[in-house]
Point group: C2
Chain length 382, copies 2
């Protein structure tokens, strides 16, 4: 059996306000192409299909269209689960009908321990859940953590396992890497308790994980994160994005990583403002990329973001590589000083800076009256 | 062929803040029972499945469960469309898979003119649409109204009609009754242009309408509103709620109305406050009903709503059958007079009423100062 393992699509996600639907469609098409080339027997999507529980209409239409392409047009079986970013109830609507075309979408714990059989493989779909859900399901007050919940669920799954079949788990949690310590269940990433790698590695032939966005987050031959299809934060800047092609034959697993290329990459640049604004510089870089810019300048640069955006439309972060110099500290001190001025002094200073003129005596009096009235009125309101 | 025709479920609707999901489930169960008793060949739901485009998670789960009952458990084919209260995009998600089990849900104009064939009947599903959608579909700038859009769509449907088949239309609009006047297209109900009854009656053997909540809204043997399953406003208080059982044999239509009974009815009561609060009175009425109360009293009744709610938990409207008497009119005149007082007089009057004492001269001066400052500050803000 050959599967394509992907996760964390986050359809509808915006990167610092920039809509990514076009980007997401672009990498999806590559995924579809890879699935066809590799002639996989199924597509695994390990949670976080949407970026949020209540996705926009555009996001809903986009994901639905992707499912239509994969499952109805290209007839790939799909094995998908809800992640912590999904609303299980909303995502799961209609999933009872999806099964007619071998699209298995599991969004709650009910029957999560019953596998789907595909030829010689049993696929277990365990969506993201909160400890209370496992507590309710098993009527067991002792289940307080995700690790305890997963342990109990895996016990149930084992009862369903046929020895002559291969066993594959799809789930969406933070898996703590290998160290058998008590403390690992206390680690949380993205608000989730960790579950232990050993439990999963011992129980299944392959575990297709979602949640962490980097495939490097865990290093194990049979328990893997696929990572996201796009770089969704600056911390992922050096990630290689793509999907795992997982072959399971006689309980032997081989995995190959197939890369996908973004339409616009997320890139980190360190340069001076002057360099960035020079044609020789910007002509050699992909200006449409999502850029995290680190300025080497230490001086104040007026309207720096506005100026940079004229050249680079998709700046998602701007900071200083070496901090700011003394003159800026002076400006900062000035700013501090301004905060200490009373409103009358503040306005007088501002008027002088802008008009290069002094207030007349009459103007000062008007100002005093207005301020007195405003302050009195504000006192009334408090 | 035998169909059950229903519409305007408005799942998730609240009646003056009261959640109706339990009520909706109650009548749904009766609908299901009727469908089984009548052994219908299909269930028609003519739009407004949800009450709003972005329904709550509870509403989503409730409707999904109803579909599961009807279509997956009881294997009734479903023919449904989106109404003006539905978001076509959200409601339509997954509908491509529904067809595997003969659940046909149409939420946009694409392919709305292609019928679904069920034995000797062609069912056309025309969801609610805005004129611009028909204009875009046909690339015809002349389509400005719903009537023009429907006319064009019906032309296309006719091309698909097989003469030996019966033709059934499901749609969701205001249908203007029979008078062949130019003005009828100008009538709007619930924000929708009207479409002409004649166009529909001439073109189809049966037309299953949604939108108006009373089955009495239109009187025609083959073009019918089913009305809603529950009374959703006081104007529906005397409606009989239920579903049509429609038999189509050799292009002959017979219809029977099957009633459903609400768990709690919507009821209008006219009585005095004293009657309403007396045990002999309230013990003989169903106090859990949704009540629109018309008080015969004309005098002021302190805390009237609070008092009534102690007995009647579901008051959705409260008014006076005969208006209010002179003393109340005096109060009303006083209220009018108060609105004409300037803030200083108003406060002086209020102070006197509450403390039964006059303001001191010093207090009056403080008041004047404060008011002057506040008014000045407000002028500044305008």
């Amino acid at each position: 059996m050959k599967f394509l393992h992907t996760a964390d699509w986050h359809i509808g996600k915006k990167l610092n306000g920039f809509d990514l639907l076009e980007q997401q469609n672009h990498v999806f098409k590559q995924l579809l192409q890879i699935a066809k080339e590799e002639e996989v027997d199924g597509i695994i999507i390990a949670g976080d299909l949407y970026d949020r529980g209540l996705p926009s209409v555009d996001a809903v239409e986009t994901l639905n269209q992707m499912f239509i392409e994969l499952n109805l047009k290209e007839t790939f079986p799909i094995f998908a689960i809800a992640g912590n970013h999904d609303s299980g109830e909303r995502l799961g609507t209609g999933s009872e009908w999806y099964q007619y075309s071998n699209f298995y979408l599991k969004t709650n714990l009910l029957e999560a321990t019953k596998p789907i059989e595909l030829a010689d493989t049993q696929v277990f779909l365990l969506p993201y859940f909160e400890p209370f859900e496992a507590r309710q399901l098993f009527q067991d007050e002792k289940i307080k953590t995700i690790q305890q919940g997963v342990t109990r669920l895996v016990e149930e799954m084992k009862k369903e396992m046929k020895p002559d079949k291969q066993h594959l788990l799809v789930t969406h949690f933070f898996v703590a890497g290998g160290q058998k310590t008590d403390s690992e269940t206390k680690v949380t990433v993205g608000g989730l308790d960790a579950i232990s790698l050993d439990l999963l590695a011992e129980s299944f032939d392959y575990v297709a994980l979602g949640h962490l966005h980097s495939k490097q987050a865990l290093s194990h031959s049979r328990v893997k994160y696929s990572g996201s299809l796009l770089k969704y934060s600056v911390s992922e800047v050096s990630d290689e994005k793509g999907v795992w092609i997982v072959s399971l034959e006689d309980k032997q697993v081989t995995t190959t990583f197939r890369k996908v290329e973004p339409l616009a990459d997320l890139q980190q640049i360190t340069a001076s403002f002057q360099e960035l604004m020079s044609k020789e510089y910007y002509e050699q870089i992909k200006r449409d990329n999502y850029l995290a810019i680190s300025l080497t300048d230490t001086k104040v640069i007026p309207n720096v973001m506005t100026e940079l955006r004229k050249i680079y439309p998709h700046i998602i972060q701007l900071d200083r590589a070496y901090g700011r110099d003394c003159r800026e500290n002076e400006a900062s001190q000035m700013s501090q000083k301004l905060q200490e001025l009373d409103p009358l002094e503040l306005f007088t200073t501002y008027f002088k800076q802008i008009t290069e003129d002094e207030l007349t005596e009459e103007q000062v009096n008007w100002l005093k009256e207005s301020l007195a009235m405003t302050q009195a009125a504000r006192r009334e309101q408090v």
